[in-house]
């Protein structure tokens, strides 16, 4: 099995996780910038984090034969302080120019507040001006439906944004249809409790097909499973999906989306 982990917060994981992922066939891991579990207090804190993502983590992954790419942004959870947000937004373009940065992400909403929307709009503007791919985080649990609608409306109102260059992540049964129908890519996050289980993610594939969709573990410092993608691939096999369709879901689909960024290099066979 070969696969790509298109969304993993590897700075929170141990080398054992890299080892397990490499053993399971992981060729590439993509790491969106996210919330550290506490609010950072200064732009310098973000600068260090972005440096860790773009310089240190690729080296750590390379020891296990895994290519590492990242996405840069300020997490929606840290958008309430507009002054700090402005400072952080101003350092983002410097990192977008780095050789292993794929685009702006994971931007989006958390509690669907006015300031979160303002900062989201600014991120989308940066992405448009710098011709970047976008990875969007949709809110958790009861806030997801409303947040997904607000995000899709905002993106559709910006004529510079092509939906096929945007992936809307953490879709579930109540949001996947609106995402795919509007031409965006959809990401399913395989979490043990709060997002999709493997079985439900495969149900979504049964219903909506395997075009413009990928699966990720979004493994981070919380309750998550770094091997969620290959485990779901095994469950797809149990459910009768062919080897070719599984390969499309866990390898070729991520490549199709990520290759829209010229910096992304398809792993050598």
């Amino acid at each position: 099995m070969r696969y790509i982990e298109p969304h993993g917060h590897m700075v929170s994981r141990t080398t054992d996780d890299y080892h397990d992922m490499a053993t399971a066939g992981c060729q590439v891991v993509c790491e969106p910038a996210f919330w550290a579990g506490f609010d950072r207090n200064s732009a310098a804190g973000f600068y260090d984090y972005f440096s860790q993502l773009t310089e240190q983590e690729p080296k750590r992954a390379a020891r296990y034969g895994i290519q590492h790419y990242s996405w840069i942004c300020l997490n929606p959870k840290e958008s309430e302080n507009l002054e700090l947000a402005e400072e952080v937004l101003s350092i983002i373009p410097e990192f977008l120019a780095k050789p292993r940065v794929l685009g702006v992400g994971e931007i989006g909403l958390n509690k669907n507040s006015r300031n979160e929307l303002k900062v989201l709009e600014k991120h989308v503007d940066i992405a448009a001006k710098h011709d970047q791919l976008i990875l969007v985080h949709t809110p958790h649990l009861e806030d997801k439906l409303k947040g997904t609608r607000l995000i899709l409306d905002l993106l559709r109102n910006d004529s510079r944004i092509s939906p096929e260059r945007v992936i809307i992540d953490h879709v579930e049964e109540h949001t996947v249809k609106m995402v795919l129908n509007r031409g965006f890519w959809a990401g399913m996050t395989l979490y043990p409790e709060s997002k999709c289980t493997s079985a439900r993610a495969i149900d979504i594939l049964d219903l909506f097909g395997t075009d413009r969709i990928w699966m990720n573990s979004a493994c981070d410092w919380g309750h998550s499973v770094p091997l969620a993608v290959p485990r779901t691939a095994l469950e797809m096999k149990k459910r009768g999906y062919s080897r070719d369709v599984i390969d499309k879901m866990i390898y070729r689909n991520p490549i199709e989306f990520l290759s829209q960024c010229p910096k992304f290099k398809v792993p050598e066979e």
């Binding site: 509690k111 006015r114 809110p139 997801k144 109540h174 149990k238």
Partner: protein, 130 residues
């Protein structure tokens, strides 16, 4: 349809049925009901038991409950009957149905259920009132 003897080539562990659904680009061979039951029944049984035990545990405990319990009971009502899209309905039932952004996010996280009225809960109330 007799599916018991139909197995994917060379792999007797993973039965595949003949019922096919055509999705753009490939033929999807959906499992039969029997196969779905064989693969997932024990897991579903265990989850129903966990849910039942959770409700018992809540009832045995002292003190007031909050809105989440009521929200869960409404969500569970979508499991009854034979209508499809139950998972989607459960998620919608637990979701904030409003459309305007909130003024400020004050550090609160999501708790899994919406505290206000949702369309399905309101429909239920109406159908109960004389």
């Amino acid at each position: 349809m007799d599916v018991s003897s139909i197995f994917k080539e060379g792999n007797a562990c993973f039965p595949v049925c003949k019922m096919e659904r055509y999705i753009v680009g490939f033929v999807l061979e959906l499992m039969t009901r029997q196969q779905v039951l064989d693969l997932y029944f024990m897991e579903a049984r265990s989850k129903v038991l966990d849910l039942a035990a959770f409700l018992d545990r809540v009832d045995r405990a002292e003190g007031k409950e909050d809105f989440r319990l009521n929200a869960l009971r409404h969500a569970m009502s979508h499991l009854q009957g034979r209508q499809l899209r139950r998972a989607e309905k459960v998620l919608l039932s637990l979701s904030d149905p409003s459309s305007l952004p909130i003024e400020r996010a004050l550090g609160q996280g999501a708790c899994g259920a919406w505290s206000g009225p949702t369309p399905d809960r309101q429909r239920k109330k109406k159908s109960k009132s004389p």
